[in-house]
Each structure stands twice: as C-alpha cells, then as structure tokens.
Amino acid sequence: MDLLARFAAGDLDAFESLFRQYQREVFCWIMRIVRNRATAEDLTVEAFWRAHRAHARFEAATGNFGGWLRRIATNVAIDHLRRSRTEVALPDDLPAIVPLPLQEQTELRRQIDDAIGKLSRNLRSAVLLALVEEEPYEEIASALGISVNAVKIRVFRGVRILRKELAKLGAHT
C-alpha cells in the first residue's frame, strides 16, 4: 500500500512521513496569509490536525495530497483571521522593500495595517496573496476553492476598499 493509501487508512507513520514532507510548505503558505511566525506555526499544527481528523475523507487513489492540504491550511488561516479580525496587527519586524525614511515607513505601515483591518477575511487573504505575495491567480483560486474570476473580483473589491480607507487616512494612493 502506498503512502497516501496508508494515510487514508489512518496509519500514523504514513501521516508522520507526509507531515515531514509538507510541514515547511504549509507553514510558508499560512505565513503568507497571517504574516506572523508564531501564529503560522500554531496554525500549521492545526491544519495537520484537521487533515489527520479528515484522513478517511481523503481519496488516496485520485487525490492530490498537496492541494488538499493547502485548502485545509487556507481555511485554517482564514478562520484565524475571522476570529482575530479586530486584533490583527502586522508585526514590526517586516522591513520595507523600498527603504523609506523610518518615520514615514512606520506611518505608512500603520495606515496600511488599519486599512487591511477593514477588509473581510476573504478579501484580505486574496489581496495579500495576489498583490503582496504575487501568487498566480490559479494557485489562489485552487487554495481558496473558488474560480479564477472570483479571485479577481475579490482582489478588485479589496483594492477598492483599501484605496478608500487609505484615502481617508491620508495615505497617497
């Protein structure tokens, strides 16, 4: 029996092998959505725990384990954003790509933090993945379980809200 079939049958050793193979990938994906290392580590554990609970529903013969796991990880990350919507703050240790004067950079980050906080969890994840991480729309669509057009609409709506909020806050958009 191959690894995926053993996992689907509930074999813990097979699950551990898959965990070791995919833990970094899942962590990186969640990090792109929640942007906080400690939270991403916790949510990686949560994603694998949910995968383990759902092992019987995984179709080993036809299944794409990586894609299935990524959808679970995306749901876990989005659930987290929903729960912590009012308290998510972007960490301070994220340097800017284009160096700005420190005060200006801090102010810009605060404004963007506030504006992103106004987005729903679905819009926020689409905007961050598409515009900051520059993930292909196809990848985002697959992870979110929606169509490419739906991703484009979420990005469009997210950008429209962001621009409105940033304009209110006085940021140059």
Binding site: R20, F27, R32, W49, H52, L90, P95, I112, T173
Partner: protein, 73 residues
C-alpha cells in the same frame, strides 16, 4: 478603478509589507502535533450527534418513516 490603480496599490502594499515567500520554518512541529493529537483524540463532530438526535426524534414521532428509510437505503 483600472489596472493602473491596482498596480499603485500593489506598490504601496509592497512598500510596507515584505513578501513571505522565503519564510523559513525554524523548528520541527511534529512534537507539537503529537501533543495536540494526544489532547484531542478524534471526536465525532457535534453536528453528527445533532443529526443523529434529530433522526431518532423523527423516528419516535413518525415511526412510519423507518420502513421508508430502510427501503431507500
């Protein structure tokens, strides 16, 4: 809104937020997961229990549905 405005917003976001593509996992999370598995053994979700309770209540109130259900299984 047009593509130029989306590009402007993208540049603004990228000025403030660093992409996390190269984020590294610094520790093995397997021990954490094992601990989680020990704490929370696989459980039947609450909605499955609710569904079962609903079905039992239905059978008590309308016993005639039992043969109909068995026929359709």
């Amino acid at each position: 809104m047009n593509d130029r405005e989306i590009d402007e917003t993208k540049k603004l976001l990228q000025q403030a937020l660093q992409p996390q593509r190269e984020a590294e996992l610094h520790r093995d999370l397997w021990p954490d997961l094992l601990q989680r598995l020990d704490q929370h053994p696989v459980q039947v979700p609450w909605w499955d229990w609710a569904l079962l309770a609903g079905a039992i209540a239905l059978f008590c109130v309308f016993p005639g549905t039992i043969p109909a259900l068995l026929y359709h299984l």
